[in-house]
């Protein structure tokens, strides 16, 4: 037990993730310049800093600066928050289900949130109230009921059955889209557009007002799950084991379900359905630093931001000046990985 080995250890368990973290911060900085500087209304990296002191950048007119502060900046902030939340709720759902395939969009949480939110929008047209204000809360309730339902149905004597979990997800996704389709017949024109944009996901609706409305929910979810990362980590080795190590697992699971629903609900209310981020990102983070949440979760959240910023920028770039829904890009990245993971995990399933 020499000090040499001890140092080697600290290096392996503590310092190694820092390398990846630094790299991620670098990527996020570069992507920030890219996503704020480049877009349909102006194509210059200096735009990313010009809004800080417009008097020094005479080459840009007031309209361009306005585009940056009112459109690109809120969109950037939204991408960062959504990336953090989707990556973290993905990792938390996987801890809750003790399976790396569980992701809020696959097991139906996002679709459930969207279903309730769309019902809310459709009803608001009928009953004349402003849906926008309460939308994050409505989709939180949708997410919460689906998470509880999925969890209870797929639980068999303290074990989560992954087959049931994914089948229930398929059923809930199908149901949610059917209900959304049905409701769109009752919606008026403006609601219809809103509904359309939901099913694919987009950051295009970003505004400071929207962010302000949803941020209490987003922050609660972010901070709450972050504080639970040590006990959640024990959940990864099994519920009984975690209990024997002193974790009150029933309380922990309840908190995780509520916090995941808060985060996913608020994200769906803001951006619609952005799938697979919670699957892809934790998977990559685990490949880099292993499954321990103390190392993995911070990296996972930064990678979530990177994936969101990159996908959103691609979504704006590919068919400029129009834009693709960001959900298309994340699904193109995520679905093949999901299939790969299923093939890889097939043997562990029974």
């Amino acid at each position: 037990m020499s000090t040499l080995t001890l140092n080697r250890f600290n290096a392996i368990t503590l310092s190694n993730p820092h390398k990846w973290m630094l790299l991620s911060y670098g990527c996020i900085f570069a992507l920030a310049l890219l996503s704020i500087g480049y877009g349909a209304a102006g194509w210059d990296w200096r735009l990313a800093i010009a809004w800080l002191a417009p008097e020094h950048f005479s080459q840009f007119d007031a309209l361009q600066i306005n585009v940056v502060t009112q459109i690109r900046l809120p969109r950037f902030v939204l991408a960062v928050m959504v990336g953090l939340v989707l990556a973290q709720t993905g990792a938390a759902t996987q801890a809750l289900c003790r399976n790396p395939l569980a992701d809020p969009s696959i097991i139906g949480i996002s679709a459930g949130a969207a279903m309730v939110a769309v019902a809310f929008i459709a009803l608001s047209a009928q009953f004349n109230f402003n849906a926008q204000h309460y939308l994050p809360y409505a989709s939180f309730l949708g997410a919460l009921s689906v998470t509880s339902l999925v969890y209870l149905v797929s639980k068999q004597q303290k074990q989560i059955n992954i087959n049931t979990l994914i089948l229930v997800g398929v059923a809930i996704n199908a149901l949610a889209f059917a209900v959304i389709g049905l409701l769109s017949f009752y919606a008026d024109d403006s609601a219809l557009r809103l509904i359309n944009y939901w099913t694919m996901g987009s950051l295009g609706g970003a505004s400071w007002d929207n962010i302000k409305q949803a941020s209490p929910l987003l922050l609660l979810s972010l901070i709450g799950l972050w504080r639970l990362k040590e006990p959640m980590n024990l959940l990864l080795i099994g519920e009984s084991q975690a209990q024997y190590l002193g974790v009150d697992t029933s309380k922990l699971k309840l908190y995780v379900i509520i916090l995941v629903a808060l985060g996913v609900g608020a994200v769906v209310a803001l951006t619609g359905l952005i799938g697979f981020v919670g699957l892809v990102v934790p998977h990559i983070a685990r490949l880099m630093v292993g499954p321990h949440l103390r190392n993995m979760l911070p990296l996972c959240m930064l990678l979530g931001v990177i994936v969101l910023l990159l996908s959103d920028w691609l979504a704006r770039l590919v068919v400029m000046p129009a834009e693709l829904p960001i959900g298309i890009i994340t699904a193109l990245l995520g679905a093949p990985l999901f299939i790969y993971l299923i093939i890889k995990n097939k043997r562990d399933w029974s």
């Binding site: 037990m1 080995t5 001890l6 080697r8 250890f9 600290n10 392996i12 368990t13 503590l14 003790r98 399976n99 790396p100 040590e230 980590n233 024990l234 990864l236 080795i237 099994g238 009984s240 084991q241 209990q243 024997y244 190590l245 002193g246 974790v247 009150d248 685990r286 292993g290 499954p291 321990h292 562990d348």
Partner: protein
């Protein structure tokens, strides 16, 4: 240390154990012996506070349910029979999880992990991932985690309890003895341990006491020499057995006979 009276344990309508009583004192290493499905694991997990039960369990003279999960975590540790972990932790990380109940610096934690890893012969495995280990090596990692959870080899202020469910099932002979001698040392410091085990001769060499479970009840309990008799074992396993003293230390050794398939 731990006393249980008139325990009834069941799953749904299926009764697993009926009217079980026993008293395990500090300094005892108890072998829990029974056929497959006799309820050994169920009894262990009930004593650990996991299953609901009818009857009384007193842990250090206080009712088991008066302890919170957090309090229990530093007083008793459980090593489960099936330890499959779906996520690929490193050996170091997994053993360090045993230190969850304690607030300590990462450096102290690393020291404890190294100490118990070396006891289980795992010093060179610490940076490996669990998926790169064999079944027996993984079992040793879980044992090291159990030892780390109780900080088994430091002076204890109060007696602690170790509950092990077939801890030697995947181990080679040398490591079976390493593990059991380690439990024996732990017990001799004034703690106790209950081990569900199928290898009667290993049990005989290391246990001080034994409980035989048969037909949902305790068939016989007491010191290992009085319990491991040919009569008791033949009744339990319904087969012919011989019990002879060990040539060096007189511990009862159990020999079975070759049978014809019928």
């Amino acid at each position: 240390m731990i006393t249980f009276n008139n325990l009834n344990i069941g799953f749904n309508t299926h009764r697993v154990l009926e009217g079980i009583s026993g008293n395990i004192q500090a300094g005892q290493l108890v072998a829990l012996i029974g056929e497959n499905g006799a309820g050994k694991s169920t009894l262990l997990h009930t004593l650990a506070g996991m299953h609901p039960f009818e009857g009384d369990i007193l842990f250090n003279t206080k009712p088991l349910h008066s302890f919170s999960k957090e309090q229990l975590a530093s007083k008793r540790a459980v090593m489960m029979q099936s330890n499959h972990v779906g996520f690929d932790f490193s050996v170091f990380e997994l053993i360090a999880m045993g230190r969850y109940p304690y607030t300590e610096s990462l450096k102290t934690q690393a020291n404890k992990v190294q100490k118990y890893a070396s006891i289980m012969d795992l010093t060179h495995y610490l940076t490996r991932r669990m998926s790169a280990l064999s079944g027996g090596e993984q079992q040793r990692v879980h044992m090291a985690r159990t030892l780390a959870q109780l900080d088994a080899f430091t002076a204890q202020t109060e007696p602690k309890l170790m509950l092990l469910d077939e801890p030697t099932s995947a181990l080679d002979m040398r490591h079976q003895h390493t593990l059991l001698s380690c439990v024996r040392t732990f017990v001799e410091q004034g703690n106790s341990a209950i081990i569900a085990i199928h290898d009667l001769n290993l049990a005989s060499l290391y246990a001080t006491n034994a409980i035989l479970l048969h037909n949902q009840k305790v068939l016989q309990s007491g010191s290992i020499n009085t319990v491991l008799t040919a009569q008791n074992l033949q009744q339990m396993y319904a087969m012919k057995l011989h019990v002879n003293p060990h040539p060096y230390n007189d511990a009862p050794m159990v020999f079975s006979q070759r049978q014809e398939f019928s």
